[in-house]
Symmetry: C3
Subunit: 357 residues, 3 copies
């Protein structure tokens, strides 16, 4: 049906585009992601749909290879750009035009980074989203017609400030405090939801189910990511409010999925490698957040992108790891099966017919 009916084909490509936010090339996963967003916020749901539609349509109009579009590779950065602009900026007519420009730009930057990184067979990940969203957010304090929400505001770093590490929902007053099972569950599930800016436990639950539908391995890696990210935050003594709301989880989730079987074959040697990457990405999250604090801007998924690029670029010098070529990317399960049958899906092997960028 997807191949014969153009409308079904378009819907399929758009849903895969949403699924690709977490590397899941599966329309059902994408549909559940959309449901998860709408559960938390109708406004962000529409922003996500506008983003994925405009960025995918731009790719068609500019003549991108059809299989790449069909696999949703020109949709996921549009999804995130749409939600991010709607999340940090107040709604008005200019914002809608701004989201459209951002979604168009996300497709251009995706094509640019894919071409740039082809030299090393490394994926663009969500870097197009990060770059476009930063460029479109940094200037808003000097734009009269695009006003920030209270979620972004400049802060001068202060080494003398006392950091309160106890898990809790609010900075002061209200709600239970400390590492209670309920608070830990909030941190865990919100960490998954925050991948798409959804600060909501139930959205996190739906996102996890959506991943499970496509890949049990990715589901486990997302869980490991959000747990290990939160624990790293607790270990270094990060702000307990931030951890509670999942801020120390979302980069860790993406890093866990990417290095847990997606771009490196899953085995007993790649798991500790993935875990170091998850811990490092969490530290990098704090670093980039502080770096951008004087201009009041968010780290977005830059910590995940930076960490995963480094851990993927390094893989060719590490004999214990088995890389997966970009044009053979499917699911962690199939990578394992194929690798056992024919252990040459790495960069040196002849061409496949997978995901492609």
């Amino acid at each position: 049906m997807v191949e014969s009916n153009p409308v079904a084909g378009a819907v399929d490509a758009l849903l895969r585009g949403v699924g690709q936010v977490m590397f899941q090339n599966n329309p059902l996963t994408g549909l559940l992601f959309v449901v998860g967003i709408f559960i938390n916020s109708v406004r962000f749901g529409w922003a996500a749909l506008l983003g994925v539609a405009v960025s995918t349509a731009t790719a068609y109009a500019l003549g991108v290879d059809r299989p790449l579009i069909r696999n949703g590779l020109f949709g996921f950065n549009g999804v995130l750009t749409g939600i991010a602009l709607a999340f940090f900026l107040q709604l008005n007519g200019v914002l809608i035009a701004y989201i459209i420009v951002g979604a168009v730009a996300s497709t251009v930057v995706m094509a640019a980074l894919a071409h740039l990184l082809q030299v090393w067979d490394v994926p663009a990940l969500t870097a197009p989203f990060v770059l476009v969203a930063w460029m479109m957010l940094f200037g808003v304090f000097v734009f009269a017609h695009l006003r920030p929400t209270p979620l972004i505001a400049p802060v001068t770093p202060d080494p003398t400030l006392t950091v309160v590490t106890q898990l809790r929902e609010f900075p002061v007053g209200g709600g239970p405090v400390g590492a209670t099972p309920a608070n830990l569950a909030q941190a865990l599930f919100r960490g998954v939801g925050e991948v798409m800016f959804q600060d909501n436990l139930w959205t996190g639950v739906v996102f996890l189910v959506a991943i499970l539908v496509n890949s049990p391995i990715s589901f486990v890696m997302a869980l490991i990511g959000t747990i290990l990210g939160g624990l790293t935050g607790l270990a270094v003594g990060a702000d307990g409010v931030g951890i509670w709301h999942g801020l120390y989880g979302f980069n860790a989730v993406l890093t866990g999925i990417a290095l847990g079987g997606m771009f490196v074959v899953l085995n007993w040697r790649s798991v500790p490698y993935m875990m170091v990457a998850v811990i490092f990405s969490t530290i990098v999250f704090a670093a980039i957040s502080v770096w951008l604090a004087p201009i009041g801007m968010p780290a977005l998924t830059a910590p995940f992108v930076l960490t995963t690029w480094l851990f993927l670029l390094a893989r060719n010098n590490f004999r214990v790891l088995d890389p997966v070529r970009l044009d053979r990317i499917t699911t962690p399960e199939r990578h394992r099966a194929e690798f056992i049958r024919q252990p040459d899906i790495g960069p040196g092997a002849p061409g496949g017919e997978g995901r492609g960028l």
Copy 2:
């Protein structure tokens, strides 16, 4: 005469170096650019000449391929570095030595970035100037012998500040206010002049004539750039004083020329692509300006460089665009003519004898 007389040859190379600031490989264009600068400021005129002479001489001394030098490719970053340092720093003996070091460094960085970017057949643009000028300006607040002019000073971003969007010359008092024809003309022509830091309507007029002498297409693209840049500034509600003085124009002008027939063949599909790039570069100008505000540093032409790199890197994934190989760069007019005769001047075609970097 240029080939037989070494002095004429040197003057020709230097003038082409000035012309290359806006991609015009033409000594007459370069001469008119120099005239335009001197109209506004004798001091900046001498700084430009010092910059182009030192950077070009450095290229000779280090053994750069002669055709590249003759085409002015090792002059334009020196021009801009010279003017920028003279623009933001107070004149004294140390400054003159500092400009010489900067012009030498601009030639090294040009050679470095040209080599780096060769992998993707993407030009260095004015990135050598941006990098060298930033490195030489960032430190001046801690240098007793190089003092900043009042044009650079740290500002803490403030989301609560009201942005006044009306076009006007001064922040308070004096002069007509609003989108009057006179104010729009100021914004339009100053946008072109600001490419070389010349905040002067008549300099902008001379620069446009200088471009027209070499390429009517580039002339039209410069006009589209400055107009669309200013309109983008008005649309997002940028500060009207900045727009009046052409700050929302100069990156847009360069982006318009670069993508309007210079590195991509001009046709009805590349024009909207160029227009999106111009709009994006204008947003990026505000972004980089705010990013550097806490240390009081200027965006220079970094918004143009970043945007144009991304839109050029992407072109290989977009079937509707026809790229022009770097070694076949001449003028937008000849690119169109050659492409119609022989549509293979893109990255896959055999070697030409054009500009080269």
Copy 3:
């Protein structure tokens, strides 16, 4: 003995790892570097040893090519990461775990950057250390369990501040003031010591002896670097306290060694090239320091890395320079001798058996 006895082999690799901080692939140099650090601080000595051990062991565990490990190429970034974290953070149990994570990450980032830069035959230098240390330091103001020492604190750049340029030990009171021989000697030797954060004249002396043991040319280049760096600081009017403590020397030392015969054959044309690079790296030190001042973070050796990358990338476009291929790196002395015998050790020549990354 090193080849037959595994313990001796490991010690040899670790000492070479320490030596490689200044490109000296020699265990005796490494041993003297360790002695120099312990002379100044037992704590930093242990941090250096922990760093080199963990980063080298990580490289073994991940299956890096043995010759690269034996040459110490997976040790020097661990050394610097260990010292840097111990230098800027207060000692506690979390810090020790943090240093271990940092040393592991430094090996991953080394493998990543080596692979990335292979395209241009350019070395990673100390970039892995800079990147890892920045990412692990930027966030510490928001980590309750890792507290900064008073050496890092946010400062807002202030163009109106008067810079006191006289050489002196303390900002106010105490000690002789001005360019006395004693003060100049302090600046000179501390500039060498600061390469490893050792603000100590005698450590600088020991480091110089350590370099001399392996390469007289590198010894001279280190001296030229620290002198020219300090003079550049004096010329632009930098803070005299900073110069006295060697802050304007350490990037210059590394740049001098790298471009003075190590990655470019030493001859009368490469010496002025190296000197321009040293001057530029000193200006870049001030630039990056000011850039990071609002978040209170140190420039580390980023000025050396940026400058040397640019001057190495450029070398292929400059006919007067003779590059040395990475896989043929040994000592400046042997590069000269080999180049005279067989002038094709540059990027085009067939494979050698040198250092390798």
